[in-house]
Amino acid sequence: MYYIPTLIGLTVMVFAILHAGGPYKLIAPYINPRLSGPARQEQIQMLIQKFHLNQPIYVQYFYWLWALLHGNLGYTTTPIFSGPATEALAIFFPNTAVLAIFAGVLMWIIGIPLGTWSAVRKDKPDDVAIRVFSYTLYGMPIYLLAVVLIIIFAVYLKLLPISGVVNPELTVGLSWYVNGISYPTHVLIIDAIIHGDWKLALNAFEHLILPAFTLALAAMAGVINILRASMIEVLDQDYVRFARSKGLPEGVVTKKHARPTAMFPVYTNFAYTVAGMLSGVVVVESVFDYPGIGYWLTQSMLGNDMGGIMAGTLIFGLIFVTTSLALDILFAIKDPRIRLG
């Protein structure tokens, strides 16, 4: 319902942030550093003309929005990619999507049973263990989690690779993998499957495991805590007692009667989980050198690359707003009270 206004607001905010630094900051990257004196001034004037920076600010906004809607996000210059920002998006976004979806699935299939179990076994040793686990995850900065996982699984156990997306030896001479960019989907694991290179796909998958687990574990703490709290509350409800009075097995009582309602706080808080995960993506991708938008964004930050920062901010906002809209719809379907009332 608020999707469109929020999106417009998002563009206004990004525009405002970027223009808060004044016009010079905007054109600085385009100025030829070798020019000086009047030639430099001339170029600055030309750039101001070109980007309509002499116009009133709201006019500038509409010029900017117009360009945006035509897919013109400017240029980005980072060590990992130089060129139109839209092209960079096409390369980096699919990778992030694969990583985030994989992590989300992991979080869901591990976090939900743990939260349920923890509530059912309230105050018993296994519940205490799960709580210690989830509190530790909660208090762990995501980069530390990543590094700890690397130390355990890559350095000591040597089960998984430390970082990157693939073992470079395997990609030598591949026609569809050039300069660290794979074709056609830009997601190495999918491209490898498309080209039937199973060994490479497996290797890429191994590289995906640690980042995905890092993200999943970081986001899991919140889900476990929320589910545990609401589940404990729901298990005290009359309808759970009524379900027991029917002589149903405990498993049915908890999974079929208690959990569906206990999940609603998880659903309503899911936007926060997604937000946390998207922030986590930035860190995780930069720790693991994983070529997604988060990595691109950190590279842009380090290189003061406006195109990358602007495009990254916009795309992260867009992802968040869109997923939360999709989740709202999905979860409304799950709750008959919203659906019908």
Binding site: K122, D123, K124, D236, Q237, D238, Y239, R241, F242, A243, R244, S245, K246, G247, L248, P249, E250, V252, V253, H257, P260, T261, K334, D335, P336, R337, L340, G341
Partner: protein
């Protein structure tokens, strides 16, 4: 009610709740029997332990409830035994988490008692039903858990019955010849159809013609041939087949049948448009309708005892009357016993056969309702009856004093601080329960010969 065996037998039940603010002695030596087929009314002020008593019979206690002594035999099964044994073992170091483990085991042990022999109707119809499940499923669930064979038989019978069968059955029904109808059904091996036929035939809100059309249309409902062996298996063994996919398919079919049965049953309980209602969610129904759904859930598997915990207190007066009428009808039609918990004495007088009066976790007086109401023996009962407002004006008397703090209950008789007839012995010793004639029992020193006889 002449000499009959009891379905529930409670002896010296003592139960405490362990909380942060102290130990609440909620039940202090309850002795009570519920006979088969009777309606036992349980009355008392709020906090006197009447709801706790109902929950104890169901074994639905919270984790911090400690059974300190006593037994609760439900049809020969001692519900509180594991809890009592845990309390003995804990030797004063009662841990709710450990108690919870015992309760979990108890839930498992009682699976075949709850919903089969005993079921319960709770006070708040608003919160008793699961908000995210269609009410029909919540009713059918009892049968899916305990009586799969009935559902399977019903389904198979509908597939097998021909139009001629139904016409024949209708003929018997018109002639009110139930015995021959049952014989006919047996000879045609249509067991399961009678349940459905009778559900329509006994409906009061339908015109006879409508009933006949509905009964005739019960026939020839072919069943998927792949499911037939699974359904027969379920009908024979009262269990779902264990083969993975088949199990899901059969279950799905039986869930549909469960909705059908739920709708029929709601129809019998006077619910308008039951076929639509079963697909609705609780929030779409009014309070009275929800309570009907709860009652249907409790009754659908023909339990031997139904515990009604203030089933009408949360409802409007007019709805209350409807639900009471419904319960009276059900009492006539089923052989179940009822334990009717309420604080409303006039309501209990209408529905009960016997009345038990509770005070501070103890049954102080129990007996046939006329005897208890006309000649109350215990001072508390006398004062309680005087406090009931009626339409004819009379002097209302409250009971002076307050309910005792159950964390440190008074010594001796619990009622002595408020009792106008209190004697020295009342402050010293708990009164024994004495029979004052025709099953009318009272726990009071006035009748136990503690002081001067009255």
């Amino acid at each position: 009610m002449s000499k009959e065996e009891s379905i529930v037998k409670i002896r010296d039940l003592r139960l405490s709740y362990y909380t942060r603010r102290g130990v609440y002695h909620a039940l202090n030596g309850v002795d009570l029997d519920i006979m088969r087929g009777e309606v036992l009314g349980v009355a008392g002020e709020s906090g006197c332990g009447k709801s706790t008593l109902g929950l104890t019979i169901m074994g639905l206690l919270p984790r911090n409830a400690a059974i300190e002594n006593g037994e609760v035999m439900v049809d020969g099964f001692d519900v509180v035994r594991p809890l009592r044994e845990y309390f003995r073992r804990s030797k004063g170091k009662f841990k709710p988490t450990k108690n919870d483990d015992v309760l979990k085991k108890l839930h498992k042990a009682m699976m075949n008692i709850r919903g089969v022999k005993v079921s319960m109707v709770f006070q708040e119809p608003m919160t008793t039903l699961n908000p995210v499940m269609p009410v029909g499923y919540q009713i059918a669930e009892v049968l899916l858990q305990h009586n799969v064979s009935l559902l399977a038989k019903r389904r198979l019978a509908r597939a097998k019955a021909t139009r001629e069968d139904m016409k024949a059955i209708l003929g018997y029904l018109r002639g009110n010849d139930m015995a021959s109808m049952m014989d006919y059904i047996k000879s045609r091996r249509l067991e399961g159809i009678e349940d459905q036929v009778m559900a329509y035939w006994r409906r009061r809100d339908l015109h006879d013609l409508v009933k006949e059309i509905r009964i005739l249309s019960l026939c020839c409902d072919a069943v998927n041939p792949m499911l037939r062996p699974g359904l027969s298996y379920a009908a024979r063994t009262n269990r779902l087949p264990s083969a993975p996919v088949l199990r899901q398919l059969v279950r799905h079919e039986l869930v549909k049948e469960g909705y059908r049965k739920a709708a029929e049953y709601l129809g019998l309980l006077g619910m308008p448009e039951p076929e639509k209602v079963v697909k609705m969610y609780p929030h779409e129904l009014s309070g009275g309708m929800r309570q009907r759904v709860v009652i249907a859930t409790a009754m659908i598997n023909n339990p031997e005892l139904v515990i009604l915990d203030e089933p009408t207190s949360a409802l409007d007066v007019t709805i209350q009357a409807q639900i009471l009428d419904l319960l009276k009808d059900l009492k006539q039609e089923t052989k179940a016993a009822y334990m009717f918990i309420s604080h409303d004495l006039s309501l209990l007088y209408q529905v009960s056969d016997r009345i038990a009066i509770m005070y501070a976790g103890k049954v102080v007086e129990v007996g046939p309702k006329d005897s208890v109401f006309k000649e109350p023996k215990h001072p508390y009962t006398q004062m309680l009856l005087e406090a009931v407002p009626t339409l004819e004006p009379h002097e209302l008397k409250g009971i002076r004093g307050e309910v005792p703090d159950l964390r440190n209950p008074p010594k001796g008789c619990m009622f002595h601080p408020r009792c106008p007839f209190a004697m020295p012995i009342c402050r010293e010793k708990e009164p024994p329960t004495v029979d004052v004639g025709s099953g009318h029992k009272v726990a009071c020193w006035l009748y136990a010969g503690g002081g001067e006889k009255k």
